[in-house]
Symmetry: C2
Subunit: 198 residues, 2 copies
Amino acid sequence: MASPEIDALTQALARLPGLGPRSARRAVLHLLKRRETALAPLVRALQAVEANMSTCDTCGNVDTRNPCGICTDSRRDVSQLCVVEEVADLWALDRARLFPGRYHVLGGRLSALDGVRPEDLNIEGLVTRIAAGGVEEVVLAMNATLEGQTTMHYVADRLEKLPIRITQLAHGVPVGGELDYLDEGTLAQALKARRPVS
Amino acid sequence: MASPEIDALTQALARLPGLGPRSARRAVLHLLKRRETALAPLVRALQAVEANMSTCDTCGNVDTRNPCGICTDSRRDVSQLCVVEEVADLWALDRARLFPGRYHVLGGRLSALDGVRPEDLNIEGLVTRIAAGGVEEVVLAMNATLEGQTTMHYVADRLEKLPIRITQLAHGVPVGGELDYLDEGTLAQALKARRPVS
């Protein structure tokens, strides 16, 4: 029914995570009804990102600058390095400015199933970066999944000989979590890592 | 943390219906990771729509052609006209090719609260269109809300003198609906309009 241009736009939007065919159609209608206030700004914003985006050669973050805004931020503590699987993890951690240091994106996790081997991840870059000096602590912030933890242990082994402190995220009951709904693994970790009431 | 360009894109996407700040951020990451397969096609699709979109002078549909694809479709039955509140309603009805005729978009509904008066809707255009001849039936497909039904009765009154059949959508139990969960108004309508088991 709709024109090929509108169909193409609906399909392009429907491929975004969080949008399906129905919500993409609603989004297209929203854009068509607000040509100046919604459609035009979105086109401009996408063009700006498309024209300028690049991957940071230092940390693997995606930004419109290279090196990225985090790597060039002089207020950041260069002695702390947080290693994550994906850019999404970096953004999640950095959103609340939780970590004062810099990051290193591996670009995935080791996975026998998906055929991801150590050489497919940016582990060499990490070793080189640490060997260049200045880093005192490396926080391994992989996902608490089997593959994430496998990757963490592999990276920890690779960094073992370097004169740095290697830490990992704490496991336990998530804030707001109800014991009733938690899996046994989480409960076991939370119990194992219990600490005096402060 | 992110560059101004990425922030601007996140905000533009977050304003789409169905997307919030979190899902917009996920969508941006998705686009950044897939520059050739996701970002570029979306930019092209948006540009094509922005360059070509217009409102159909005949029916009020939004399309990249004017008159729109429906109004110029010679396979459509010109004797049937379906009047809807918004372009979204037209698309919803036409998605499954349920209606063989053409449409007329009023551009809203009468609303004392929002200050929408009859002259704010495209009712004159509807009268002119019918007066031009060829239309035998007008289906008033307004929403089953108070304002939608008020609008329907107003439009029906305006068309009363014209030599056409005026119909409205059936009310009743939606397909898949459970009586248990339906409101009294729907149940009353479904009971009133009951028909022999066929």
